[in-house]
């Protein structure tokens, strides 16, 4: 597949990196330094120029491309680039936008603006935050099979009753499968006698209810969050509050700019908008932020986000979800006390990569920086799974594969050894990256 990527920022380079191994990738950027650094770091063809300029696109060979991904930091440029590409080629176009207003228009008429698939960073980030906020200790959440199946990565805290139990002991839920345990960069496929240790990250696949039940099993002292404080009323903060309101929460939102705060207060009927500085200790005391279940830091500036988070944690807030705009800071933030760091750029890159891969699977989730994937596949007549029990199939598929869930119509089936897979079923499988190609061929 020939892929043209417009924009070599964090999003564009991340996508380029993950696609470069198996595709022909051309990257267009207006910045010569970036183009030059790409030349040496990745096996891609970098072109210097304006991606919304049709001449540049033609120079990049867009006419022969199968896919055009516009991922610059500028919404309008991305939309125009897709529109321009659409004029001279049949390539599938993907546009990244920050503002949900474009997404709203695009969702009304898919294909509008010449964009075949649109990814909205801010909305994506807000959705991720809201998904994480609802599940204590969750690090990553993804939905499959139209919401019937949920994949969640949990970190096991030291004081958790699940820590030091075997998988067989911890697995008390009917419709839940332990797909993998990630321990010190290593992917462990769990057996019944595998012991879960504190600090492990457990990948669980199952129905949303069982995932929620398991979440409270891991951290029983934490009820579901009731009191959520959002810091920063930018687009991400606003969307997060809006989505939380939709789920019946009444969050508090701190915004420093008075006009923006007033706008937010008018838009968000169930949110208490506070016009103040979230790093003001008096405010934190006055508003009892220490008593909050979750703090979401969504300011524009990473340093301020970290400061606001650490102050709130110091006051006693249980859980902090922090937006980091520079993806490289993610691990650092998590190391100094942030429970989950969410990078809008990483999330966007992941979503686009997911989408490019999902064209062979129904849906894809990428685990822990490409160490493994969770795929949703529809079982066809050629699959090794058809009309056989999972125990029988086990010999034919490599190590590092776990069938996490099966859906048949609207029904959720928990895969056990004697479960028979039928044609047309959807299976959600956890696959170690090393065996990915072999597995997708067989299933």
């Amino acid at each position: 597949m020939r892929v043209v990527i417009v924009g070599a920022g964090e999003v564009g380079s991340t996508i380029a990196e993950s696609l470069a191994q198996s595709h022909d990738v051309v990257v267009i950027d207006i910045d010569s330094d970036r183009v030059e650094s790409l030349t040496y770091s990745l096996d891609v063809l970098p072109i210097e120029g304006d991606g919304s300029d049709i001449d540049t696109l033609e120079e990049a060979g867009v006419a022969d491309a199968d896919m055009v991904i516009a991922s610059t930091d500028d919404d309008e440029t991305n939309i125009v680039a897709c529109g321009a590409a659409n004029v001279v080629s049949d390539a599938f176009t993907i546009a990244r936008v920050k503002s949900p207003k474009y997404l709203t228009a695009w969702q009304r008429a898919r294909g509008a603006f010449g964009v075949d698939f649109m990814v909205c960073s801010d909305l994506l980030t807000a959705e991720a935050i809201v998904g994480l906020a609802g599940l204590p200790t969750a690090q990553d959440v993804d939905m499959f099979a139209d919401g019937l199946v949920q994949m969640t990565e949990f970190e096991i805290p030291a004081e958790s009753p699940v820590a030091d139990q075997t998988v067989a002991e911890a697995d008390r839920f009917d419709s839940l499968t332990f797909a993998a345990i990630i321990r010190d960069d290593e992917v462990v496929i769990p057996r019944g006698d595998t012991r879960i240790e504190a600090g492990d990250e457990v990948v669980a696949i199952g129905s949303p209810e069982s995932i929620r039940a398991f979440s409270s099993e891991i951290a029983p002292e934490e009820r579901g969050p009731e009191d959520v404080v959002i810091v920063g009323g930018g687009e991400i903060g606003y969307q997060t509050a809006r989505l939380l309101e939709e789920r019946g929460f009444s969050p508090r939102l701190v915004e420093q700019d008075e006009d923006r705060a007033r706008w937010l207060a008018e838009k968000l009927p169930s949110t208490t908008v506070l016009n103040s500085d979230a790093t003001d200790q008096d405010l934190l005391d006055r508003e009892n932020v220490g008593m909050a279940d979750v703090i979401v830091a969504a300011l524009e500036n990473d340093q301020q986000n970290l400061l606001a988070t650490l102050l709130a944690k110091r006051k006693g807030t249980d859980r902090a979800i922090t937006v980091v705009n520079t993806g490289d800071f993610t691990e650092l933030f998590e190391a100094v006390g942030v429970d989950v760091a969410v990078s809008p750029r990483k999330a966007t890159a992941e979503e686009i990569t997911r989408f490019t891969r999902a064209r062979r699977a129904e849906n894809v989730a990428i685990i822990e920086g490409d160490r493994a994937e969770v795929l949703e596949l529809e079982v066809d007549a050629d699959s090794v799974l058809v009309d056989r029990s999972i125990r029988d199939v086990a010999a034919d598929i490599p190590e590092g594969v776990v069938i996490g869930a099966i859906t048949r119509g609207d029904e959720h089936i928990t895969p056990r050894g004697d479960t028979i897979v039928r044609e047309g079923d959807h299976v959600v499988v956890f696959v170690d990256t090393e065996v990915l190609d072999e597995v997708t061929e067989k299933l």
Binding site: V254, E258, A261, R262, L264, A265, E266, P269, T272, V273, L274, N275, S276, L283, R286, E287
Partner: protein, 500 residues
């Protein structure tokens, strides 16, 4: 001349528009003359007035008409009500019957009519012809919504800023435009109003026909429909609705209630969207206030042993509360004899009023709801001083300017009410009359808030004729002020209005 030269308000335009409205007033006058002809009563009072009005209208209309600006709009609204009040008084004077024969009394009755107040100086109901009583009712019907509709429809035919007028007329009244054209909206509201009136006439006649209200005549049905739907309250009967059977009284309650319901909501109701009523914060509040006050009043009536039968307790308390609260002012019973507690419930109801965007007067539930919500917001801000929390009505954010205006309005109403009460007591003492404090407060509220009956001698079966002439003049002015909602009058009184 130099003074006029400095004024930036275009009197000619405003007066010319008043002329147009006056011209339109000829029709109802001629209509009343036809009724007089039917009953064999003198035609002169109405035909003479019609001729006078037509002449004055045409003369005024000839003035140079320029663009209707905001100031001209304010001026025109204020002058129109004044002009109609004066014209409306002429038939009473010309007829020269009973207590209406004095100029002050005639003007009082006419103003009370056109402002839909319903306070009367008629002490001798039988002394007046049916046509005179009908003219009282018709004035109220026109005053309810009619004037607005007539003015808007007439003016928009002349393609002059109808929207401007509507805005002035309905300050904080939530008259959402239902159609892109103001003229079409006005016509729609007019039809709704006329339809509701027709429905009430039919209801009364039907009750009469099945024998549940044998005393109902077509005349009664029409005269009362004119004054119930307009929440105005004049009745050709001295005992008001007390002259009719319980069935008629029950049937009248919904019409007063609907007359004080926002007409935009009523419109949605006719379009088969009853859910809009339930969604409206103001409607729920309005309903709650009516039911709450009724419950308390009924409780006090039972406690004082006023009525023994439960149907009577409920009917009389509900009827009186709805009547007073919607600023209609009918009565089914002389509530002067009720216990002080029950009477005070009615006194409280005077300050409520019905919904904005209806024919009602007084403070209106919309304003009280804004006050309640903004007060709740203030309490919330005591706990969360940094919180920004807009006041919302049915989900819509209420502009902070409007919240401030509402407070100003409520405060001003309170001040005017107190000053008027003081004036009534003082003026009565000067004239050697005896007026109790509660009576004075009742009469002040009942006139200024456009309700009608008060307590004591000005009670439901009493009248206002005995007040000193100076007090009646004060009432006339304040009925006018109350109906056009204070602010336009105050605006007219500010020097800034008259400067560039």
């Amino acid at each position: 001349m130099s003074l006029v030269g400095e004024l930036r308000v275009d009197w000619a335009t405003s007066l010319s528009l008043v002329g147009t409205v006056l011209k339109a007033l000829t029709a109802p006058l001629v209509g009343t003359a036809l009724v007089a002809l039917w009953y064999g009563e003198p035609l002169v009072p109405f035909l003479a007035t019609a001729a006078l009005t037509l002449g004055a209208g045409i003369a005024l209309e000839r003035l140079d008409r320029g663009d209707l600006g905001l100031r001209e709009g304010f001026l025109m609204v204020a002058l129109t009500w004044l002009a109609i009040a004066v014209v409306g008084a002429v038939p009473f004077l010309v007829a020269g019957e009973g207590s209406l024969a004095s100029p002050v009394n005639a003007l009082f009755e006419s103003t009370s009519g056109i402002t839909t107040t319903g306070a009367t100086v008629v002490s001798d109901f039988d002394a007046h012809g049916r046509s005179v009583h009908l003219w009282r009712s018709l004035l109220q019907w026109m005053g309810g919504l009619g004037i607005l509709v007539i003015a808007v429809a007439v003016l928009s035919q002349l393609s002059i800023g109808g929207a401007q007028l509507m805005e002035t007329e309905s300050q904080t009244q939530d008259v959402n435009k239902l159609t892109p054209s103001i003229e079409a909206t006005a016509r729609l509201l007019g039809w709704l109003y006329a339809g509701l009136t027709g429905l009430m006439v039919a209801t009364w006649l039907a009750i009469g026909a099945v024998g549940l209200g044998p005393e109902v005549t077509l005349y009664d049905a029409v005269a009362h429909a004119f004054t119930a739907v307009s929440t105005a309250g004049f009745s050709p009967r001295a005992e008001s609705l007390g002259a009719f059977s319980p069935a008629v009284q029950w049937a009248t309650i919904p019409f007063m209630f609907l007359g004080a319901t926002n007409f935009v909501l009523l419109y949605h109701l006719t379009q088969g969207n009853p859910s809009r009523l339930g969604e409206s914060d103001e409607f729920r509040f309005y309903l709650a206030v009516v039911l709450g006050l009724t419950g308390l009043t009924a409780g006090f009536l039972v406690a004082s042993g006023e009525f023994t039968r439960i149907e009577r307790v409920i009917r009389h308390s509900l009827f009186q509360v709805v009547s007073i609260l919607t600023t209609t002012g009918y009565a089914t019973v002389d509530f002067n004899g009720w216990s002080p507690a029950a009477k005070h419930m009615l006194f409280l109801a005077m300050f409520s009023g019905g919904m904005a965007g209806s024919t009602t007067c007084s403070i209106k539930t919309l304003r009280w709801l804004v006050v309640v919500k903004s007060f709740r917001r203030d309490l919330f801000r005591e706990i969360h001083p940094d919180a920004i929390r807009p006041v919302r009505l049915t989900g819509e954010v209420v502009d902070e300017d409007v919240v401030r205006d509402v407070y100003a309005y409520v405060l001003l109403s309170g001040i005017i009410f107190v000053l008027l009460t003081v004036f009534v007591v003082t003026d009565a003492a000067r004239a050697g009359e005896q007026v109790g404090e509660f009576e004075a407060m009742g009469a002040s509220a009942a006139t200024f808030l456009n309700i009608g009956p008060a307590f004591g001698d000005a009670g439901p079966y009493g009248d206002y004729a005995w007040f000193p002439a100076t007090t009646k003049v004060a009432f006339i002015v304040l009925m006018w002020v109350g109906r056009i909602e204070i602010i336009p009058v105050l605006v007219l009184l500010t020097p800034a209005f008259w400067r560039s």
